[in-house]
Symmetry: C2
Subunit: 258 residues, 2 copies
Protein backbone atom coordinates (compact mmCIF):
# COMPACT_ATOMS: atom_id res chain seq x y z
CA UNK A 1 0.00 0.00 0.00
CA UNK A 2 1.40 3.34 -0.94
CA UNK A 3 0.52 5.58 1.97
CA UNK A 4 2.11 8.90 1.40
CA UNK A 5 2.70 11.02 4.47
CA UNK A 6 0.45 13.98 5.05
CA UNK A 7 2.08 17.28 4.32
CA UNK A 8 4.67 17.83 1.63
CA UNK A 9 3.88 14.62 -0.29
CA UNK A 10 0.97 14.78 -2.65
CA UNK A 11 -1.77 12.28 -3.20
CA UNK A 12 -3.01 11.33 -6.63
CA UNK A 13 -6.22 10.09 -8.18
CA UNK A 14 -6.28 7.46 -10.91
CA UNK A 15 -9.49 7.14 -12.94
CA UNK A 16 -9.22 3.49 -13.87
CA UNK A 17 -11.23 1.34 -16.27
CA UNK A 18 -11.78 -2.11 -14.82
CA UNK A 19 -13.09 -3.64 -18.02
CA UNK A 20 -16.54 -5.18 -17.95
CA UNK A 21 -16.26 -7.73 -15.15
CA UNK A 22 -13.79 -10.49 -16.00
CA UNK A 23 -10.69 -9.73 -13.88
CA UNK A 24 -8.50 -11.06 -16.70
CA UNK A 25 -9.64 -8.14 -18.84
CA UNK A 26 -7.97 -5.64 -16.54
CA UNK A 27 -4.87 -4.09 -18.07
CA UNK A 28 -1.50 -4.69 -16.48
CA UNK A 29 -1.40 -0.99 -15.60
CA UNK A 30 -4.82 -1.07 -13.92
CA UNK A 31 -3.73 -4.07 -11.85
CA UNK A 32 -0.45 -2.43 -10.81
CA UNK A 33 -2.18 0.75 -9.71
CA UNK A 34 -5.00 -1.10 -7.97
CA UNK A 35 -2.43 -3.11 -6.03
CA UNK A 36 -0.62 0.00 -4.85
CA UNK A 37 -3.57 2.25 -3.98
CA UNK A 38 -4.57 3.12 -0.44
CA UNK A 39 -8.15 3.98 -1.34
CA UNK A 40 -10.43 2.37 -3.93
CA UNK A 41 -13.72 4.11 -4.72
CA UNK A 42 -15.69 1.86 -7.04
CA UNK A 43 -18.90 1.74 -9.02
CA UNK A 44 -21.45 -0.86 -8.07
CA UNK A 45 -20.90 -2.92 -11.22
CA UNK A 46 -17.26 -3.68 -10.46
CA UNK A 47 -17.36 -7.31 -9.27
CA UNK A 48 -15.80 -8.66 -6.03
CA UNK A 49 -13.21 -10.64 -8.03
CA UNK A 50 -11.74 -7.36 -9.28
CA UNK A 51 -11.97 -5.60 -5.91
CA UNK A 52 -10.16 -8.49 -4.26
CA UNK A 53 -7.06 -7.51 -6.26
CA UNK A 54 -6.67 -4.32 -4.20
CA UNK A 55 -3.93 -4.51 -1.61
CA UNK A 56 -4.76 -5.73 1.85
CA UNK A 57 -5.50 -2.85 4.14
CA UNK A 58 -6.75 -0.56 1.40
CA UNK A 59 -9.99 1.30 2.02
CA UNK A 60 -12.39 -0.16 -0.55
CA UNK A 61 -15.65 1.71 -0.79
CA UNK A 62 -18.64 1.52 -3.13
CA UNK A 63 -19.83 4.89 -4.28
CA UNK A 64 -22.85 3.41 -6.00
CA UNK A 65 -24.02 4.79 -9.29
CA UNK A 66 -26.32 1.93 -10.14
CA UNK A 67 -29.31 3.66 -11.73
CA UNK A 68 -32.03 4.11 -9.14
CA UNK A 69 -29.69 2.98 -6.39
CA UNK A 70 -27.66 6.13 -6.13
CA UNK A 71 -25.84 6.04 -2.83
CA UNK A 72 -23.85 9.24 -3.35
CA UNK A 73 -24.29 12.20 -5.65
CA UNK A 74 -21.64 12.95 -8.27
CA UNK A 75 -20.61 15.99 -6.23
CA UNK A 76 -20.12 13.85 -3.13
CA UNK A 77 -18.00 11.35 -5.08
CA UNK A 78 -15.87 14.19 -6.46
CA UNK A 79 -15.41 15.69 -3.00
CA UNK A 80 -14.51 12.32 -1.48
CA UNK A 81 -11.78 11.41 -3.95
CA UNK A 82 -10.31 14.90 -3.80
CA UNK A 83 -10.31 14.87 0.02
CA UNK A 84 -8.48 11.54 0.14
CA UNK A 85 -5.89 12.76 -2.38
CA UNK A 86 -5.39 16.08 -0.60
CA UNK A 87 -4.76 14.06 2.54
CA UNK A 88 -1.83 12.42 0.73
CA UNK A 89 -3.36 9.11 -0.33
CA UNK A 90 -3.19 7.32 -3.65
CA UNK A 91 -6.80 6.93 -4.77
CA UNK A 92 -8.21 4.64 -7.46
CA UNK A 93 -11.59 5.69 -8.83
CA UNK A 94 -12.58 2.36 -10.38
CA UNK A 95 -15.24 2.17 -13.08
CA UNK A 96 -16.59 -0.71 -15.15
CA UNK A 97 -15.47 -0.86 -18.79
CA UNK A 98 -13.65 2.20 -20.05
CA UNK A 99 -14.05 5.33 -17.92
CA UNK A 100 -14.19 7.59 -20.99
CA UNK A 101 -17.19 5.90 -22.63
CA UNK A 102 -20.45 6.58 -20.75
CA UNK A 103 -18.51 6.58 -17.50
CA UNK A 104 -19.16 10.18 -16.44
CA UNK A 105 -15.42 10.72 -16.26
CA UNK A 106 -15.82 14.23 -17.68
CA UNK A 107 -17.39 15.52 -14.50
CA UNK A 108 -14.71 13.93 -12.35
CA UNK A 109 -11.88 15.20 -14.56
CA UNK A 110 -13.22 18.72 -14.28
CA UNK A 111 -13.52 18.53 -10.51
CA UNK A 112 -10.01 17.11 -10.19
CA UNK A 113 -8.57 19.78 -12.45
CA UNK A 114 -10.24 22.56 -10.52
CA UNK A 115 -9.02 21.11 -7.22
CA UNK A 116 -5.41 21.08 -8.37
CA UNK A 117 -5.05 17.43 -7.36
CA UNK A 118 -2.75 15.36 -9.58
CA UNK A 119 -4.64 12.75 -11.61
CA UNK A 120 -4.21 10.26 -14.41
CA UNK A 121 -6.59 8.24 -16.56
CA UNK A 122 -6.04 4.53 -17.17
CA UNK A 123 -8.20 3.40 -20.10
CA UNK A 124 -9.97 0.05 -20.06
CA UNK A 125 -11.58 -2.39 -22.47
CA UNK A 126 -15.07 -1.12 -23.27
CA UNK A 127 -18.18 -3.31 -23.04
CA UNK A 128 -18.85 -3.21 -26.80
CA UNK A 129 -15.54 -4.92 -27.55
CA UNK A 130 -16.02 -7.51 -24.84
CA UNK A 131 -19.57 -8.36 -25.90
CA UNK A 132 -18.59 -8.73 -29.55
CA UNK A 133 -15.50 -10.77 -28.69
CA UNK A 134 -17.73 -13.10 -26.74
CA UNK A 135 -20.16 -13.42 -29.66
CA UNK A 136 -17.23 -13.67 -32.08
CA UNK A 137 -18.38 -10.80 -34.26
CA UNK A 138 -16.59 -7.60 -35.23
CA UNK A 139 -17.67 -4.01 -34.71
CA UNK A 140 -16.42 -2.78 -38.08
CA UNK A 141 -16.05 -4.66 -41.33
CA UNK A 142 -14.96 -3.45 -44.74
CA UNK A 143 -17.86 -2.93 -47.18
CA UNK A 144 -20.35 -3.90 -44.43
CA UNK A 145 -19.80 -1.64 -41.43
CA UNK A 146 -17.46 1.23 -42.20
CA UNK A 147 -18.12 2.95 -38.88
CA UNK A 148 -19.38 2.19 -35.39
CA UNK A 149 -21.39 4.45 -33.11
CA UNK A 150 -21.78 4.06 -29.35
CA UNK A 151 -25.10 5.29 -27.99
CA UNK A 152 -26.71 5.11 -24.59
CA UNK A 153 -30.31 4.14 -24.03
CA UNK A 154 -30.86 6.50 -21.17
CA UNK A 155 -29.17 8.72 -18.64
CA UNK A 156 -29.68 8.20 -14.93
CA UNK A 157 -30.81 11.82 -14.83
CA UNK A 158 -33.84 10.78 -16.84
CA UNK A 159 -33.10 12.97 -19.85
CA UNK A 160 -33.27 11.16 -23.18
CA UNK A 161 -29.93 11.42 -24.96
CA UNK A 162 -30.18 12.44 -28.60
CA UNK A 163 -29.08 9.95 -31.26
CA UNK A 164 -27.44 10.76 -34.58
CA UNK A 165 -28.84 9.52 -37.90
CA UNK A 166 -27.85 5.89 -38.51
CA UNK A 167 -27.14 4.56 -41.99
CA UNK A 168 -27.21 0.95 -43.19
CA UNK A 169 -23.42 0.53 -43.07
CA UNK A 170 -23.04 1.66 -39.45
CA UNK A 171 -22.80 -0.64 -36.45
CA UNK A 172 -24.85 0.89 -33.64
CA UNK A 173 -24.04 -0.20 -30.10
CA UNK A 174 -26.46 0.81 -27.36
CA UNK A 175 -25.01 0.86 -23.85
CA UNK A 176 -27.55 0.58 -21.03
CA UNK A 177 -30.38 -0.26 -23.44
CA UNK A 178 -32.92 -0.59 -20.63
CA UNK A 179 -35.65 -3.22 -20.64
CA UNK A 180 -38.21 -1.76 -23.01
CA UNK A 181 -36.99 -3.37 -26.22
CA UNK A 182 -40.06 -2.30 -28.18
CA UNK A 183 -39.28 1.35 -27.48
CA UNK A 184 -35.61 0.72 -28.20
CA UNK A 185 -36.44 -0.78 -31.60
CA UNK A 186 -38.70 2.16 -32.42
CA UNK A 187 -35.96 4.64 -31.52
CA UNK A 188 -33.38 2.81 -33.63
CA UNK A 189 -35.85 2.67 -36.50
CA UNK A 190 -36.54 6.39 -36.18
CA UNK A 191 -32.79 7.01 -36.28
CA UNK A 192 -32.67 5.30 -39.67
CA UNK A 193 -32.03 1.57 -39.18
CA UNK A 194 -34.14 -0.66 -41.44
CA UNK A 195 -36.68 -3.05 -39.88
CA UNK A 196 -34.62 -6.13 -40.78
CA UNK A 197 -31.36 -4.89 -39.23
CA UNK A 198 -29.73 -7.79 -37.34
CA UNK A 199 -29.68 -7.18 -33.59
CA UNK A 200 -27.71 -8.97 -30.91
CA UNK A 201 -28.58 -8.36 -27.27
CA UNK A 202 -25.91 -9.56 -24.83
CA UNK A 203 -26.38 -9.71 -21.09
CA UNK A 204 -23.48 -10.04 -18.67
CA UNK A 205 -20.80 -10.40 -21.36
CA UNK A 206 -17.72 -12.10 -19.92
CA UNK A 207 -19.52 -12.47 -16.58
CA UNK A 208 -21.28 -15.84 -16.50
CA UNK A 209 -24.10 -16.62 -16.91
CA UNK A 210 -23.87 -14.72 -20.18
CA UNK A 211 -27.04 -14.61 -22.28
CA UNK A 212 -27.63 -13.61 -25.89
CA UNK A 213 -30.67 -12.90 -28.03
CA UNK A 214 -30.15 -12.75 -31.78
CA UNK A 215 -32.93 -11.28 -33.86
CA UNK A 216 -33.63 -8.14 -35.80
CA UNK A 217 -35.15 -4.74 -35.17
CA UNK A 218 -38.58 -6.11 -35.99
CA UNK A 219 -38.62 -8.83 -33.35
CA UNK A 220 -36.30 -7.38 -30.74
CA UNK A 221 -39.32 -6.89 -28.45
CA UNK A 222 -39.47 -10.68 -28.07
CA UNK A 223 -36.29 -10.64 -25.96
CA UNK A 224 -37.09 -11.43 -22.33
CA UNK A 225 -35.33 -11.48 -19.00
CA UNK A 226 -31.93 -10.07 -19.76
CA UNK A 227 -30.35 -8.93 -16.51
CA UNK A 228 -28.15 -5.82 -16.48
CA UNK A 229 -25.56 -5.05 -17.52
CA UNK A 230 -26.60 -5.68 -21.10
CA UNK A 231 -25.66 -4.16 -24.42
CA UNK A 232 -27.24 -4.15 -27.88
CA UNK A 233 -25.34 -4.47 -31.15
CA UNK A 234 -27.43 -3.50 -34.19
CA UNK A 235 -26.07 -3.79 -37.72
CA UNK A 236 -25.07 -6.25 -40.39
CA UNK A 237 -22.09 -7.46 -38.33
CA UNK A 238 -24.50 -8.90 -35.72
CA UNK A 239 -25.86 -11.49 -38.16
CA UNK A 240 -22.61 -13.44 -38.00
CA UNK A 241 -23.34 -14.27 -34.35
CA UNK A 242 -25.68 -16.99 -35.61
CA UNK A 243 -22.83 -19.15 -36.84
CA UNK A 244 -19.91 -17.81 -34.86
CA UNK A 245 -21.04 -19.04 -31.43
CA UNK A 246 -18.38 -21.41 -30.19
CA UNK A 247 -19.05 -25.05 -30.89
CA UNK A 248 -19.88 -26.84 -27.68
CA UNK A 249 -20.34 -23.60 -25.80
CA UNK A 250 -23.59 -22.03 -26.95
CA UNK A 251 -24.81 -19.10 -24.87
CA UNK A 252 -27.22 -20.29 -22.17
CA UNK A 253 -30.30 -18.53 -23.43
CA UNK A 254 -29.37 -17.87 -27.03
CA UNK A 255 -32.35 -17.66 -29.31
CA UNK A 256 -31.73 -17.22 -32.98
CA UNK A 257 -34.75 -15.90 -34.78
CA UNK A 258 -33.24 -14.43 -37.91
CA UNK B 1 5.38 -22.81 -24.56
CA UNK B 2 2.29 -24.82 -25.17
CA UNK B 3 3.25 -27.16 -28.00
CA UNK B 4 0.43 -29.55 -28.55
CA UNK B 5 1.33 -32.80 -30.24
CA UNK B 6 0.34 -33.26 -33.84
CA UNK B 7 -2.57 -35.60 -34.32
CA UNK B 8 -5.46 -35.93 -31.91
CA UNK B 9 -4.75 -32.67 -30.07
CA UNK B 10 -6.08 -29.56 -31.66
CA UNK B 11 -4.42 -26.24 -32.11
CA UNK B 12 -6.20 -22.98 -31.50
CA UNK B 13 -6.02 -19.43 -32.77
CA UNK B 14 -6.41 -16.42 -30.49
CA UNK B 15 -7.17 -13.08 -32.13
CA UNK B 16 -5.63 -10.80 -29.54
CA UNK B 17 -5.75 -7.03 -29.12
CA UNK B 18 -2.38 -5.73 -27.96
CA UNK B 19 -3.63 -2.25 -27.10
CA UNK B 20 -1.99 0.67 -28.84
CA UNK B 21 1.69 0.20 -27.99
CA UNK B 22 2.35 0.59 -24.27
CA UNK B 23 2.90 -2.98 -22.99
CA UNK B 24 1.19 -2.02 -19.71
CA UNK B 25 -2.05 -1.58 -21.62
CA UNK B 26 -2.18 -5.27 -22.50
CA UNK B 27 -4.87 -7.13 -20.60
CA UNK B 28 -3.89 -9.86 -18.16
CA UNK B 29 -5.56 -12.35 -20.49
CA UNK B 30 -3.62 -11.14 -23.53
CA UNK B 31 -0.37 -11.47 -21.59
CA UNK B 32 -1.19 -14.97 -20.35
CA UNK B 33 -2.04 -16.20 -23.84
CA UNK B 34 0.94 -14.47 -25.42
CA UNK B 35 3.22 -16.16 -22.89
CA UNK B 36 1.82 -19.59 -23.67
CA UNK B 37 1.61 -19.43 -27.46
CA UNK B 38 3.91 -21.30 -29.78
CA UNK B 39 3.35 -19.00 -32.73
CA UNK B 40 2.82 -15.23 -32.76
CA UNK B 41 1.73 -13.61 -36.03
CA UNK B 42 1.72 -9.87 -35.53
CA UNK B 43 0.90 -6.65 -37.31
CA UNK B 44 3.70 -4.23 -38.01
CA UNK B 45 2.49 -1.67 -35.47
CA UNK B 46 2.90 -4.01 -32.49
CA UNK B 47 6.09 -2.74 -30.81
CA UNK B 48 9.10 -4.90 -29.82
CA UNK B 49 8.35 -4.32 -26.11
CA UNK B 50 5.09 -6.23 -26.52
CA UNK B 51 6.58 -8.96 -28.71
CA UNK B 52 9.31 -9.55 -26.15
CA UNK B 53 6.63 -10.84 -23.79
CA UNK B 54 6.12 -13.94 -25.95
CA UNK B 55 7.68 -17.06 -24.52
CA UNK B 56 11.24 -17.90 -25.46
CA UNK B 57 11.31 -20.28 -28.39
CA UNK B 58 8.02 -19.11 -29.86
CA UNK B 59 7.91 -18.39 -33.57
CA UNK B 60 7.32 -14.64 -33.79
CA UNK B 61 6.56 -13.44 -37.27
CA UNK B 62 5.45 -10.11 -38.73
CA UNK B 63 2.67 -10.46 -41.26
CA UNK B 64 2.86 -6.78 -42.17
CA UNK B 65 -0.30 -4.87 -42.86
CA UNK B 66 1.26 -1.43 -42.69
CA UNK B 67 -0.49 0.46 -45.48
CA UNK B 68 1.66 0.43 -48.60
CA UNK B 69 4.04 -2.02 -46.98
CA UNK B 70 1.90 -5.09 -47.37
CA UNK B 71 4.13 -8.11 -46.90
CA UNK B 72 1.39 -10.73 -47.10
CA UNK B 73 -2.14 -10.68 -48.46
CA UNK B 74 -5.08 -11.21 -46.11
CA UNK B 75 -5.62 -14.63 -47.69
CA UNK B 76 -2.01 -15.61 -46.99
CA UNK B 77 -2.32 -14.51 -43.37
CA UNK B 78 -5.52 -16.52 -42.97
CA UNK B 79 -3.92 -19.59 -44.53
CA UNK B 80 -0.83 -19.29 -42.35
CA UNK B 81 -2.63 -19.08 -39.01
CA UNK B 82 -4.96 -21.91 -39.96
CA UNK B 83 -2.05 -24.10 -41.08
CA UNK B 84 -0.20 -23.59 -37.80
CA UNK B 85 -3.35 -24.39 -35.79
CA UNK B 86 -4.16 -27.46 -37.87
CA UNK B 87 -0.65 -28.62 -37.16
CA UNK B 88 -1.51 -28.55 -33.44
CA UNK B 89 0.03 -25.25 -32.36
CA UNK B 90 -1.40 -22.49 -30.21
CA UNK B 91 -1.34 -19.38 -32.39
CA UNK B 92 -1.69 -15.75 -31.35
CA UNK B 93 -2.76 -13.38 -34.09
CA UNK B 94 -1.67 -10.13 -32.47
CA UNK B 95 -3.13 -6.81 -33.57
CA UNK B 96 -2.65 -3.26 -32.32
CA UNK B 97 -5.51 -1.76 -30.30
CA UNK B 98 -8.72 -3.77 -30.31
CA UNK B 99 -8.99 -6.39 -33.06
CA UNK B 100 -12.71 -5.69 -33.57
CA UNK B 101 -12.35 -1.98 -34.38
CA UNK B 102 -10.76 -1.39 -37.79
CA UNK B 103 -8.63 -4.50 -37.27
CA UNK B 104 -9.95 -6.59 -40.18
CA UNK B 105 -10.85 -9.31 -37.70
CA UNK B 106 -14.05 -10.06 -39.62
CA UNK B 107 -12.17 -11.60 -42.52
CA UNK B 108 -10.03 -13.69 -40.19
CA UNK B 109 -13.02 -14.84 -38.13
CA UNK B 110 -14.77 -15.99 -41.28
CA UNK B 111 -11.73 -17.90 -42.52
CA UNK B 112 -11.24 -19.54 -39.12
CA UNK B 113 -14.90 -20.52 -38.90
CA UNK B 114 -14.86 -22.05 -42.37
CA UNK B 115 -11.68 -23.98 -41.57
CA UNK B 116 -13.20 -25.56 -38.46
CA UNK B 117 -10.20 -24.45 -36.38
CA UNK B 118 -11.01 -23.52 -32.77
CA UNK B 119 -10.56 -19.81 -32.10
CA UNK B 120 -11.20 -17.16 -29.50
CA UNK B 121 -11.13 -13.36 -29.48
CA UNK B 122 -9.37 -11.42 -26.75
CA UNK B 123 -10.47 -7.77 -26.86
CA UNK B 124 -8.04 -4.94 -26.27
CA UNK B 125 -8.05 -1.27 -25.37
CA UNK B 126 -8.80 0.73 -28.49
CA UNK B 127 -6.71 3.68 -29.66
CA UNK B 128 -9.50 6.22 -29.11
CA UNK B 129 -9.62 5.48 -25.38
CA UNK B 130 -5.85 5.56 -25.05
CA UNK B 131 -5.47 8.84 -26.92
CA UNK B 132 -8.19 10.53 -24.89
CA UNK B 133 -6.82 9.16 -21.61
CA UNK B 134 -3.48 10.64 -22.54
CA UNK B 135 -5.05 14.03 -23.32
CA UNK B 136 -7.25 13.70 -20.22
CA UNK B 137 -10.50 14.21 -22.12
CA UNK B 138 -13.57 11.98 -22.34
CA UNK B 139 -15.22 10.48 -25.40
CA UNK B 140 -18.78 11.01 -24.17
CA UNK B 141 -20.14 13.65 -21.82
CA UNK B 142 -23.67 14.32 -20.69
CA UNK B 143 -25.32 17.28 -22.47
CA UNK B 144 -22.18 17.75 -24.61
CA UNK B 145 -21.41 14.48 -26.40
CA UNK B 146 -24.22 11.97 -26.07
CA UNK B 147 -22.65 9.54 -28.55
CA UNK B 148 -19.30 8.72 -30.10
CA UNK B 149 -18.62 7.47 -33.61
CA UNK B 150 -15.45 5.75 -34.78
CA UNK B 151 -14.59 6.38 -38.44
CA UNK B 152 -11.60 5.52 -40.55
CA UNK B 153 -9.91 7.96 -42.89
CA UNK B 154 -9.13 5.40 -45.53
CA UNK B 155 -8.93 1.73 -46.31
CA UNK B 156 -5.70 0.16 -47.49
CA UNK B 157 -7.68 -1.07 -50.47
CA UNK B 158 -7.97 2.55 -51.57
CA UNK B 159 -11.75 2.68 -51.36
CA UNK B 160 -13.13 5.67 -49.45
CA UNK B 161 -15.25 4.47 -46.56
CA UNK B 162 -18.59 6.21 -46.26
CA UNK B 163 -19.27 8.34 -43.19
CA UNK B 164 -22.57 8.83 -41.42
CA UNK B 165 -24.09 12.26 -40.79
CA UNK B 166 -22.45 13.90 -37.75
CA UNK B 167 -24.38 16.17 -35.41
CA UNK B 168 -23.03 18.78 -33.00
CA UNK B 169 -23.37 16.56 -29.93
CA UNK B 170 -21.39 13.64 -31.35
CA UNK B 171 -17.72 12.95 -30.73
CA UNK B 172 -16.17 11.80 -34.01
CA UNK B 173 -12.95 9.82 -33.82
CA UNK B 174 -11.05 9.22 -37.05
CA UNK B 175 -8.69 6.26 -37.02
CA UNK B 176 -5.92 6.35 -39.62
CA UNK B 177 -6.71 9.95 -40.57
CA UNK B 178 -3.91 10.09 -43.12
CA UNK B 179 -1.77 13.19 -43.66
CA UNK B 180 -4.01 15.41 -45.76
CA UNK B 181 -5.67 17.33 -42.94
CA UNK B 182 -7.25 19.83 -45.31
CA UNK B 183 -9.15 17.04 -47.05
CA UNK B 184 -9.99 15.48 -43.68
CA UNK B 185 -11.48 18.76 -42.44
CA UNK B 186 -13.52 19.09 -45.62
CA UNK B 187 -14.90 15.58 -45.24
CA UNK B 188 -15.81 16.14 -41.59
CA UNK B 189 -17.47 19.42 -42.53
CA UNK B 190 -19.42 17.72 -45.32
CA UNK B 191 -20.57 15.11 -42.79
CA UNK B 192 -22.09 17.89 -40.72
CA UNK B 193 -19.51 19.16 -38.23
CA UNK B 194 -19.42 22.96 -37.84
CA UNK B 195 -16.29 24.88 -38.85
CA UNK B 196 -15.42 25.72 -35.24
CA UNK B 197 -15.62 22.14 -33.93
CA UNK B 198 -12.67 21.54 -31.58
CA UNK B 199 -10.21 19.00 -33.01
CA UNK B 200 -7.40 17.16 -31.26
CA UNK B 201 -4.88 15.27 -33.36
CA UNK B 202 -2.75 12.83 -31.37
CA UNK B 203 0.26 11.03 -32.74
CA UNK B 204 1.79 7.98 -31.07
CA UNK B 205 -0.53 8.04 -28.04
CA UNK B 206 1.06 6.17 -25.14
CA UNK B 207 4.16 5.57 -27.30
CA UNK B 208 6.65 8.38 -26.68
CA UNK B 209 7.33 10.78 -28.25
CA UNK B 210 3.62 11.54 -28.21
CA UNK B 211 2.53 14.68 -30.05
CA UNK B 212 -0.72 16.62 -30.00
CA UNK B 213 -2.24 19.40 -32.08
CA UNK B 214 -5.27 21.16 -30.67
CA UNK B 215 -7.26 23.35 -33.00
CA UNK B 216 -10.57 23.26 -34.79
CA UNK B 217 -11.94 22.08 -38.09
CA UNK B 218 -11.09 25.43 -39.66
CA UNK B 219 -7.38 25.34 -38.90
CA UNK B 220 -6.73 21.61 -38.76
CA UNK B 221 -4.75 21.92 -42.01
CA UNK B 222 -2.05 23.76 -40.04
CA UNK B 223 -1.06 20.53 -38.27
CA UNK B 224 2.34 19.35 -39.50
CA UNK B 225 4.59 16.34 -39.13
CA UNK B 226 2.51 13.93 -37.14
CA UNK B 227 3.96 10.46 -37.56
CA UNK B 228 1.64 7.43 -37.72
CA UNK B 229 -0.10 6.01 -35.88
CA UNK B 230 -2.23 9.06 -35.25
CA UNK B 231 -5.86 9.61 -34.44
CA UNK B 232 -8.21 12.59 -34.61
CA UNK B 233 -10.85 13.46 -32.02
CA UNK B 234 -13.38 16.02 -33.26
CA UNK B 235 -16.13 17.37 -31.01
CA UNK B 236 -16.80 19.58 -28.02
CA UNK B 237 -15.00 17.15 -25.68
CA UNK B 238 -11.70 17.90 -27.44
CA UNK B 239 -11.67 21.51 -26.25
CA UNK B 240 -10.92 20.39 -22.69
CA UNK B 241 -7.50 19.17 -23.85
CA UNK B 242 -6.33 22.79 -23.67
CA UNK B 243 -6.43 22.85 -19.90
CA UNK B 244 -6.29 19.16 -19.03
CA UNK B 245 -2.71 18.55 -20.17
CA UNK B 246 -0.76 17.39 -17.15
CA UNK B 247 1.07 20.12 -15.30
CA UNK B 248 4.79 19.72 -15.86
CA UNK B 249 4.28 17.22 -18.65
CA UNK B 250 2.99 19.11 -21.67
CA UNK B 251 2.96 17.14 -24.92
CA UNK B 252 6.18 17.67 -26.86
CA UNK B 253 4.68 19.45 -29.83
CA UNK B 254 1.36 20.59 -28.44
CA UNK B 255 0.02 23.66 -30.10
CA UNK B 256 -3.13 25.19 -28.80
CA UNK B 257 -4.80 27.40 -31.36
CA UNK B 258 -8.37 27.48 -30.14
Amino acid sequence: MSRQSRGPQRGKVYLVGAGPGDPELLTLKALRILQSASVVLHDELVPPEVLSLACQGATVRSVGKGCGRQTMTQEEINALMIAYAQDGWTVVRLKGGDPLIFGRAGEEIRALRESGVDFEIVPGVTAASVACASARITLTQRHVASSVVFLTGHHCSGAEPSWPALGPDVTAVVYMPGRDYMELAIRLGSAGLPHDTPCLLISRAAQPPEQMFLGNLGNLHQARGFPAPSILVAGQVAAAAAYNARAGAPPAAARSVT
